[in-house]
Symmetry: C2
Subunit: 313 residues, 2 copies
């Protein structure tokens, strides 16, 4: 292994580490960062044939996909790029394959950036005048801030442990939305004031159940108990072919200090970032490609199967 | 009004203020404080007849009962003392009525102190090996710490905004209980590890629904969704004849600074302390007088009706 190959691997490893340590960016930002990192790896990996280059790209894609096991968008994004590169691989030389990957990564970046507006437009038309949401989601922010008519009130749960809901409250207020901020524990007490729950997603499993910030499942239960709809706004690249929560797509657990900075002798502190909302509690999943019942996402699951196949050993 | 009567009223007003401002003591402590304050008022109120004394006692009882509209135990305790004093009133002179109230207040104090052990014994026998609980409750603490056999694991939700769950976690750990502390938002994510939910109560309405620290309703929903029992451990004096949550028994709202110390311009912050768990989500209510299905508390409601009648105008 020559020096330059080692330094390439180091560059990739540092992006993987960056993705792993970033607890504040959303799936869109992290996925786009992963796509760019994959394109760079494809640009610089030493390879004497398209086949060898595809092997290098795959190694990099697998490393990037593994950085965030709860955030399937990252794996799907690099899987999509890899799957497309493979199809191209048969009819390209090394140089044109490198260029193809760079161009496709650029397109995927634009795709990611374009989705928000489309999702926002669909979501806005569904929403009642009072909406409850949980923690921070860029799809939720753009959907709720898109409305120019105004007059909508949004109840935001703070999102312990790191209070990302406060950031959402601030950004919604800056967009002239009427915001009420509450503790996560008050979601039930205030559900009677809401007309719907709107959340983002970190992943949508093949059966239509939704992985999102811990507490989402509780909001969905309370909404269901109040006969209110639960809307999930997310990009199609969040859908995975996985059916099991706890396998490849697994709950991430973070530092206990985020929950209890000073610690307490003899007490175990858990800090699970995500929970699973079963499909039966989800009304519709709003994506850039349409509005789906959770049991109607079969076409999106098929796409995800292709990305996963590209990454499989 | 002479000077001494004014100073008695000031003493009572300061106890009322104390009860109102105390966000950390439980219903037992506050109810006993109210009973003692009522006995002192009975001791010192100027009165030339038992009838006049009863009128003074009632005024004091009404003031004390109004201090904490969500904590029916306070109203029930002073209502019980007043109802008993009234029955005594017909066959006593002023001096013996004062003594009666002092003795009865003492008995009620002992009654309150005795209930915890009885409730703990009943509760312990019902509990599985892993229990989830919410925030702080002295009945829950004594029930979970009573067990000498050990080996039980307790998952404690932190209880935003003031994190009373941390205090429960600490006291349980001191009693050699295996404790896991989590954010309120993780209750759903960890419910699969629990075998039951155990909570205290601030009030039990006439239909068996339970008023308790905000977040309890969410735990009950998650337990129900996991087919797990929800046990409520509380004294009979927490049962009210009221059927409506939002009337005489109303959700208390505290300072928004407890939720967001620094505030945020343009954002309304809510800090509702209690939520209502409907009777259909409650498995049993464990009291010092027995273990009841929520729909089987009619006898306790009848008693509460007597206390309320004594306080009514």
């Amino acid at each position: 292994m020559d020096d330059s190959q080692t330094s390439k691997q180091r560059a990739l490893a540092s992006v993987v580490e960056e993705l792993r340590a970033d607890h504040t960016s959303g799936a869109s930002a992290l996925s786009r960062r992963a796509a760019r990192a994959l394109a760079q790896a494809a640009q610089k990996a030493p390879a004497s044939s398209p086949r060898e280059l595809l092997q290098r790209i795959k190694e990099a894609a697998v490393a990037l996909a593994g950085a965030r096991p709860s955030m399937v968008a990252v794996a799907n994004t690099v899987g999509l790029l890899l799957a497309d590169a493979r199809e191209q691989g048969g009819r390209a030389d090394v140089g044109s394959l490198r260029r193809y990957v760079a161009d496709r990564a650029e397109q995927i970046d634009e795709l990611w950036r374009g989705t928000l507006g489309v999702i926002a437009a669909s979501t806005t038309s569904l929403l009642p005048s009072v909406v409850m949401t949980h923690s921070y989601s860029s799809t939720v922010l753009s959907s709720l801030a898109a409305e120019t008519a105004g007059g909508r009130r949004v109840i935001v749960c703070e999102g312990r442990p790191l209070f990302e809901g406060r950031r959402l409250a601030q950004e919604l207020t800056a967009a002239a939305v009427d915001v009420t901020l509450i503790t996560d524990a008050q979601a039930g007490a205030l559900m009677a004031e809401a007309g719907a729950v709107l959340v983002g997603a970190d992943a949508v499993l093949a059966d239509g159940s939704v992985v999102n910030k811990a507490g989402t499942y509780l909001l969905a239960l309370a909404a269901h108990d109040h006969h209110l709809p639960v809307y999930v706004a997310c990009e199609t690249l969040k859908v995975t072919a996985e059916r099991v929560w706890g396998g490849t797509v697994a709950p991430e657990e973070k530092e206990p200090e985020e929950v209890l900075p000073e610690g307490m002798p003899g007490i175990r502190v858990r800090n699970i970032y995500f929970d699973l909302t079963p499909a039966r509690l989800v009304t519709t999943i709003i994506t850039e490609d349409g509005v789906f019942r959770p049991q109607g996402i079969g076409g999106l699951v098929e796409r995800a199967r292709r990305y996963a196949a590209a990454l499989s050993p």
